[in-house]
């Protein structure tokens, strides 16, 4: 392992440490500096907020499918963007119109999801 690779390793390691510190640092700071409890009268500090009232029943119930289908359309395009990231990296190097057309075809095929969802009436927001 020559020293350049150890240099890189150290670089990656410190970068990782910096990330973790940046993530967990505030938690530690808050734990040290912030007041630990809060004055309460009915000891319900941790309760879910529902306009000053105690929540009734449970929210873990079966929703209507409309929300689920809506989320699916979002996931489809999330995957679409996932594939576009590497393309974006190499896109500008030696540009040819062919690349642009290829990209258009790729995005066109993936936008069929919207057309399909539209036909199935997902966007009409009717209850299933």
């Amino acid at each position: 392992m020559n020293e350049t690779s150890t240099g890189d390793l150290i670089y990656i390691f410190t970068f990782l440490l910096g990330g973790l510190a940046f993530a967990f640092g505030p938690f530690i700071l808050v734990y040290l500096l912030a007041p630990r409890g809060t004055r309460n009268t009915v000891h319900k500090t941790g309760q879910y907020i529902e306009c000053g009232m105690d929540p009734i029943g449970d929210a873990w119930i079966r929703y209507s499918a409309v929300y689920y289908l809506y989320a699916l359309v979002f996931v489809a395009f999330a995957v679409d963007v996932l594939y576009l990231i590497p393309v974006a990296l190499v896109y500008g190097r030696d540009f040819a119109v062919r690349d642009f057309v290829e990209l258009l075809i790729f995005v066109g095929i993936l936008s069929l999801v919207i057309v399909y969802a539209w036909k199935k009436g997902v966007f009409a927001w009717k209850r299933r």
Partner: protein, 395 residues
């Protein structure tokens, strides 16, 4: 009506009763099992305009049953009416519905004058009409700002309160209070209007139409507002009558019921003003009724300023006021609807029973039936157009 014709939404969706888009009504054939959860839009909620709690049984976003729970700001006005003399109850009347305090004092004072047969000099009647109409405009402005902040637009609140401050300055100069005026007395008003009050009113009446046109350009033609209000929350005239809903709610359903015109009191018959009604019965109609009402109030103030006579502002009132036994009613067109005071007197100087029939109480009682099957945002938009003041409901 400047720039505000409203047509049924024509985005091809099949419309249910009275132009309600089909998508907001739950189709009865849907086979999914009824799995609902209870959300309480509780006392502390920005859209509740105070401490109104609505227990909403929800199926996803659709409301299957929205039951308002009230009483969180019940302040015993009727009980206080029974243990203080007639004059001592006056400050209470402006704290029932603090946005149209003048109308409520007018009703109580009118009922006592009707019982004790007290004459009110003409100048005092004119001052009462001017201050009542100013108060109605101020109340409609708070409603306008609050409704649009419910629908997400926060800037109109600033416009509305800007103009409302002009009215508050005028009324503060006259009666010393910004909100809970105790300006009327039995037999007249407590403080005569000097010239700069009348000049201030004249200036306000000239300044306000341009501002109302600005409100219309800023908001009424806005497609978002029209989409949020048109066809939403249909309330038919029959439902209004069954629930006793009055004021802009019944005028938005096409019935020209206004206590100033149907059951005239004070000197309103001497002024000519129209009663704006819109037949659609949806939230947009109620919105347009209140906007048009502000213009009519300006017309009344203008005519009252022209015809206000000189003279005393206080009639002759016995030192200790005693009403002959019996019951007396007096109805007034408050900003939110018909406000009725029913006094039962047994001859003493303390009322035996004071019953306050407030408009928001009946306007809200139809919310449960009107909001069935709607989605939550539409139900809140409709509640905004009902213009509720919660202490007015709980008393």
């Amino acid at each position: 009506m400047p720039g505000a014709e409203c047509q049924v939404p024509n985005d091809g969706s099949v419309t249910g009763a009275a132009g309600v888009p089909q998508s907001t009504i739950r189709d009865p054939q849907s086979t999914i099992p009824q799995e609902t959860f209870v959300l309480n839009l509780g006392p502390q909620h920005p859209a509740a305009h105070g401490v109104l709690r609505v227990l909403m049984t929800m199926d996803g976003e659709w409301i299957t049953r929205a039951e308002p729970v009230i009483g969180y700001i019940h302040r015993m006005h009727e009980k206080m009416g029974e243990n203080r003399t007639w004059a001592k109850f006056l400050p209470n009347t402006s704290r029932i519905d603090y946005l149209s305090a003048m109308h409520y004092t007018h009703a109580f004072v009118g009922a006592v004058e009707r019982g004790a047969k007290i004459e009110v000099p003409p100048r005092a009647e004119y001052l009462r009409v001017i201050t009542s109409e100013l108060n109605r405009i101020a109340s409609h402005m708070v409603w306008w700002g609050a409704l649009l902040s419910d629908l997400g637009g926060l800037t109109p609140f600033l416009y509305a309160f800007d103009d409302r401050e002009l009215i508050l300055d005028l009324l503060e100069g006259l009666c010393g209070a910004r909100l809970t005026y105790c300006y009327y007395r039995f037999g007249g008003v407590c403080n005569d209007a000097d010239d700069d009050f009348l000049r201030g009113c004249r200036q306000f009446v000239r300044h306000m139409p341009a501002r109302l046109k600005l409100y219309h350009d800023l908001v009424t033609g806005n497609i978002i507002l029209r989409k949020r209000l048109e066809g939403i929350g249909p309330i038919s005239a029959e439902m209004c009558r069954k629930y006793g809903a009055t004021g802009p709610v019944i005028r938005g359903a096409g019935v020209a019921y206004d206590v100033r015109r149907v059951e005239p009191y004070s000197i309103y018959p001497q002024f000519d003003f129209e009663i704006p009604t819109f037949p659609q019965g949806d939230s947009m109609a109620r919105y347009l009724v209140r906007m048009a009402e502000m213009e009519q109030s300006l017309r009344i103030i203008d005519q009252a300023l022209d015809k206000i006579p000189a003279g005393p502002v206080m009639g002759k009132v016995p030192r200790v006021l005693r009403l002959p036994p019996g019951d007396y009613c007096y109805a007034v067109e408050a900003a939110r609807g018909r406000f009725l005071v029913r006094i039962v007197s047994d001859g003493k100087d303390v009322p035996y029973r004071v019953r306050l029939r407030t408009p928001s109480f009946s306007n809200l009682s139809l919310f449960e039936e009107a909001s069935r099957g709607m989605i939550l945002p539409d139900a809140l938009a409709m509640m905004g157009t009902l213009d509720l003041v919660i202490p007015d409901i709980d008393r």
